[in-house]
């Protein structure tokens, strides 16, 4: 055993090799962080829970989905953890661009504030779904709006309605029943948007100039 031990060589660190590995790694890392900061990389996330305030100087739909529509809005009933039904206005925008997005939520005694999309680079999101209890705007402009549309006739993966309280943190969803009242438009532009939302989800959300911290509400 002692012989085997003494035949294993001692070693030292070759610092040039160390730098040769670390330098490209940190350069790549810096490039990654820069890309994420400048909005090329998309970060997808889903938020749900207590009400939070969302404001934006401008919300514009930038494209349409397979149905040729850029905006859906319908009433849904979502469920809290205890199973209490809470009516919501659900807005689905397949492709959205937001300028000066501000989002704030109370975390205990403090307010967490997230801002993004200023200085000429707007926030972009795809399949943006917002469940809100109130929505107000300075001005709203719709193109080819249909009010009183039967929302059950559309097929869009984001267009689902909660059907019941599921298990754990999930709420069971199903297709929107036929005869559900809603409105659609091929394009929408909303200025000075203010929403009290309970849930937001997006299949991808790109936030240039993202800034997160504790501060005042939006």
């Amino acid at each position: 055993m002692a012989e085997t031990e003494s035949s294993v060589p001692l070693g030292r660190t070759r610092w040039r090799r160390f730098a040769a590995v670390l330098a490209p790694a940190y350069l790549a890392l810096a490039a990654l962080v820069f890309l994420a900061w400048s909005g090329v990389l998309a970060v997808s996330f889903a938020i749900s829970g207590t009400a939070f305030t969302v404001t934006a100087d401008n919300l514009t739909s930038t494209g349409t989905d397979g149905n040729g529509l850029g905006f859906y809005q319908l009433g849904v009933v979502d469920f809290t953890g205890a199973g209490t039904p809470v009516p919501q206005v659900e807005s689905i925008i397949p492709s959205a661009s937001l300028t000066n997005l501000c989002q704030s939520v109370s975390v205990g005694p403090l307010t967490l504030r997230i801002t993004a999309g200023d200085a000429g680079t707007p926030v972009t999101a795809s399949n943006l779904v917002v469940d809100a209890t109130s929505l107000s705007a300075g001005s709203a402009q719709f193109s080819n709006i249909n009010i009183g549309q039967d929302m059950g006739q559309f097929s869009n993966p984001a267009l689902t309605a909660p059907t019941g309280r599921g298990s754990g943190p999930n709420v069971n969803t199903g297709p929107v029943p036929a005869g559900t009242f809603g409105q659609t438009a091929t394009a929408v532009t909303i200025n000075s948007l203010r929403q009290v939302a309970n849930g937001t989800s997006a299949s991808s959300f790109t936030l240039p100039h993202l800034s997160l911290g504790f501060g005042s509400a939006c």
Partner: protein
């Protein structure tokens, strides 16, 4: 087990079969073990992997949601820690283990709370690079 003669000089006239005190023998064995592998590289990788995995692990309520990405965040941290173990136990694999530790630590930036708030990322990359850069020095004979 005899203490490593390279690390402990015995004064002339020491009777054969004399054994050093246990604590000194244990420390000498540890010192040998430590110097025959990229010890510090493995240690930083282990610590970095744990720091990376801790962030997502606190979201244990979210863990059971199907398709949640919390498992991926924990897995990346575990891989980095595993690479640290490889550096310790199989030093002949140090190049691959070191490179993998660096790559997974960089991936943790996106998967695990920005690489354990950067701390886990730095520990993992430095540890992996140390492991990669470690070289055995041929023993002088005689």
């Amino acid at each position: 087990m005899r203490a490593d003669p390279r690390l402990m000089d015995r004064p002339a006239g020491t009777p054969e079969g004399y054994r050093e005190p246990r604590l000194r023998r244990a420390r000498a064995r540890f010192r040998t073990w430590r110097r025959t592998r990229p010890f510090w590289g493995g240690l930083w990788c282990l610590l970095g992997g744990c720091v990376i995995a801790v962030g997502p692990a606190t979201a244990f309520r979210v863990l059971l949601i199907a398709g949640s990405t919390v498992w991926l965040g924990i897995a990346v941290g575990l891989v980095v820690a595993l690479m640290g173990l490889f550096l310790w136990l199989t030093p002949h694999l140090r190049q691959i283990a070191g490179i993998l530790a660096v790559l997974f630590s960089m991936a943790s930036l996106l998967t695990s709370d920005y690489g354990g708030f950067i701390v886990g990322l730095v520990l993992g990359t430095v540890g992996g690079a140390l492991g990669f850069a470690w070289t055995p020095v041929p023993r002088q004979t005689g």
